[in-house]
Amino acid sequence: MERKNKTTGVVAGIIANLVIVEVEGPVAQNEICFIQHPESNLMAEVIKILGKNVYVQVFESTRGLKIGTKVEFEGHLLEVTLGPGILSRNYDGLQNDLDKMDGVFLKRGDYTDPLNREKKWDWTPIAKAGEEVSAGSWLGEVPENGMPHRIMVPFKFEGKYTVKSVVEAGAYTVDNVIATVTDKEGNDIDLTMVQKWPVKMAVKAYNEKPRPFKLLETGIRTMDTLNPIAEGGTGFIPGPFGTGKTVLQHAISKYAEADIVIIAACGERANEVVEIFTEFPELEDPRTGRKLIERTTIIANTSNMPVAAREASVYTAMTLGEYYRSMGLRVLLMADSTSRWAQALREMSNRLEELPGPDAFPMDLTAIITSFYARAGFVYLNNGESGSITFIGTVSPAGGNLKEPVTESTRKAARCFYGLNQERADSKRYPAIDPIDSYSKYLEYPELVEYLTKNISEDWLDKVMHTKTLLLRGREAQEQINILGDDGVPLEFHERFWNSELIDGVILQQDSFDKIDANCPLDRQKYMLEKVLDITEKKFSFDSFEDVNGFFKRIINELKQMNYSEWNSDKFKAYESELETIMKERLN
């Protein structure tokens, strides 16, 4: 799409942030242009072309814009700048560094450099002269907040190249030439640490993308134990407001087994982003001993920021994720909330006067969501290393109704479903993930089952399935009790119900504000699940349903105290032996 001369045009129509530009010369779909508003240049993206009329969505407010204003087309799509120095930065949806902006209020047309051009990085070469390389090949690395940041052959390069030279180890800025490669025609190309990539295109500089097969430990019991997400897998969390979506997402990003965390705050509350800004620099990273913010990048496009940039923000986040994945790192990508992204699509589709689909969303909503989720995944790179992007998005269903288009479309794309339940949230049973409606398709993957069998235990899957059955039977028993009354059902129904309460209280519920309980490693999860299942197998003797209630409340309390105690500490063991004593009272 490179052109010698920039295509230009003039503004011919304005409807909110949709602008119609009359153009002389070639223009590409999704090309970026700048509208030369006297106050400041406004960035926009081509979304439709009808003859000479090019429809662009402006990433800023179009207030005061006049007909006849000059527009210059850039000859490239919406791109992000990739290079060392992305971690622990706070970007807006278009990758502008928010900290570099002047003033308290966001200024229209204030575009800032995402990278630090002065900083010198400690370079170590990997590739050697004479080696054959292609897009994504590692040329060298620099340490970025303790992570090996690989400098690669730009993703845009097609075919094979030969390394002519690589600079020696030393300190360089991102703009210094660090390698020279030769293409097939014998032309030398100088490379720096910086490359650009269009956000709406998937980076495909890898060898293969197998089905995910490894468990991604999140430290959250109801996920890891009951409905695990795989490394490189996809999941989504729908829930009405007030059911704890954001708290859950923050918990996952704190403890999940990932090298890099990218959070796209997409059309959500600014105070929640401020919470991340305030908390993450304080939080100790359990994996590296550094601060959590050092391996985190935040894309903040809060709900009051321009809508078109909100649409771009999730793509920006995904592209940054793909960049780090190509370095052989495990990336966890969180987007809160994908509904706001879909709404941005709806607003634009509406202005384009497209025929609407359900709830006025664009007809291709499912296709857009599916192809976005498809960019996540576990990959083997061309050099044999592996990397992954695990993607978890939240969905804010209108009116809490899961039969709305965004939830339904996402259900087709994501493999794990963590439905938040209003009733659970109301009764403060957090995380409010519904244990019966939620699912993980990965439990049906033989690859993952093999991994679980090998890494946890032979009969792990059976245990998980059995747990789910117990929960379901508990719910059925509860319904019977509610209909027939406490005395109207056999004692066994109460036991069934309380067995499920036991699993709920000890395994499902987890206090993400408690230092110890917030993160539960897999071996501990295994121990607790086995403990709980063991109790459900025991034959206790009860005289009345009140006995059942009282007894189970006591053992749940002991087990909860174990959850709150340091793993295998004296306190933990003390509660465990108290538990044994209580149980003996009722054992025949």
Binding site: G64, I67, V104, R108, A300, R346, G399
Partner: protein, 439 residues
């Protein structure tokens, strides 16, 4: 506003609809204000040399040869200390018979605060209403609506909150206020001697409904002036946001846009977020706190307006008539302040979180007991005691006419615990029981 000599006057209107006029004009900016036949209008769409103007007061009686003058600016407001104590309409013109305000002109509906320049909200706002301060504490920089049915006294409660909160400025944005309510606010503020710290922008039911779309921007621009430039604590009251959203749907309908859920425009979320997200805590101490009213239709919170609002605001306050005590209470179950964790037990007494939770749990037990009673089952002694507790709790804590400080709220709750329960039934951390259980 008068026509000035250099301004070009257009006199040929091409199209007229109920809410818009179309004419040929050049050098017009998007969102620019204009005077159409003596009524305020705003540019909403430009296609080549055709400009479409939305006329706020409607187009009844506008002839095709009406005078149209473009004003060369988007909606604006004169800000200055003189705003205090004054009442304005949706265009920022005085409606209290007073003189025009001297001050600097600013554009309303300006850009948002850079998220990295915000501070995490951390200052408690005391209102004296225990249902709020004890169970759903408000924090400066927060945005929270009352979800209320139209027959509930939300405006009275809001006026009380405004007067008791220690705010430097209170800005009232009234949308579709009945004239009675407008006079009510005026009298209450006047009688309290608080008029000098109050600025009001009011669109009453007598005014054209579409005009109220300008009210939140006016109110919040004034708020930003006081909070950012003067570093004051500003409280913004917006009532009623449902009527604001209704006006949005009227406009969107007349612009032939495809409606989404509940005939609301597809951009409802963004439109509401743009307003509510003006709530902010600045590092220098100035802040904007927004308390709004969203009236519900028969308590239905799944309707697009309360639903979208719930996703934007930091919690919601529900009012409910408690027929057992004959008072309006702040419903402890459905109300939520998401930011209370930042202040309770930190800026308030240490036992606050535990006492709050224990009381709500016991109140929930009472609700269960009541269901049992209604279904004709026998009540246990514990059930009876929870019911007794619930009545007292409703009357002495939850009722909206309460005005006490948090210390007193906590003491009262402890007394109610002691009157009705044994220590172990309350389940509060032992150290607090030892300290506050006096009997």
């Amino acid at each position: 506003m008068e026509t000035q000599a250099f301004q070009k006057v257009y006199t040929k209107i091409l199209n007229l609809t109920k809410a818009t006029v179309t004419l040929k004009a050049t050098d017009v900016g998007n969102e620019e204000m204009a005077m159409v036949h003596g009524r305020m209008g705003q540019v909403v769409k430009i296609m080549g040399d055709e400009v479409i103007l939305q006329v706020f007061a409607g187009t009844e009686g506008i002839p095709t040869n009406a005078e149209v003058v473009f004003l060369g600016h988007s909606p604006q407001l004169k800000v200055g200390d003189q705003l205090a104590g004054r009442f304005f309409n949706a265009f920022g013109d005085p409606i209290d018979g007073g003189p025009d305000v001297e001050g600097r002109i600013i554009e309303t509906g300006g850009p948002s605060v850079n998220p990295v320049r915000r501070k995490q909200p951390s200052d408690l706002i005391a209102t004296g209403i225990a249902g709020i301060d004890l169970n759903n504490s408000l924090v400066t920089g927060q945005k929270i609506p009352f979800f209320a049915d139209p027959d509930q006294p939300y405006n009275q409660v809001m006026a009380n909150v405004a007067l008791r909160a220690e705010a430097d400025k209170i800005i009232l944005g009234g949308m579709g206020l009945s004239n009675d309510d407008y006079l009510y606010f005026k009298n209450v503020f006047d009688n309290a001697g608080a008029l000098d710290r109050i600025v009001s922008f009011v669109n009453t039911t007598d005014d054209p409904p579409v005009e109220r779309l300008l009210i939140p921007d006016m109110a919040l621009s004034a708020a930003e002036y006081f909070a950012e430039e003067k570093q004051q604590k500003v409280l913004v009251l917006l009532t009623d946001m449902t009527l604001f959203a209704d006006a949005l749907s009227i406009v969107s309908n007349r612009m032939d846009q495809i409606p989404s859920k509940d005939s609301m425009p597809g951009s409802l979320y963004s439109d509401l977020a743009r307003i509510y997200e003006k709530a902010v805590q600045f590092p220098h101490g100035g802040s904007i706190t927004i308390i709004a009213v969203t009236t519900l239709n028969g308590g239905d919170i799944t309707h697009a307006i309360p639903d979208n609002t719930g996703y934007i605001t930091e919690g919601q306050l529900f009012l409910r008539m408690d027929s057992d005590v004959g008072k309006v209470i702040v419903d402890p179950f459905r109300s939520l302040s998401r930011l209370k964790q930042l202040v309770i037990g930190k800026q308030t007494r240490e036992d606050h979180p535990q006492v709050m939770n224990a009381a709500i749990r016991l109140y929930a037990d009472a609700a269960n007991a009541k269901t049992k009673q209604d279904n004709g089952f026998d009540l246990t002694d514990y059930d009876e005691r929870t019911l007794k507790f619930a009545r007292a709790y409703s009357e002495q804590i939850l009722a909206v006419d309460i005005n006490i400080d948090t210390e007193k709220m906590l003491d009262t709750t402890w007394e109610l615990f002691q009157d009705n329960f044994a220590r172990e039934e309350v389940v509060v951390r032992q150290e607090f029981v030892d300290k506050y259980w006096k009997k």
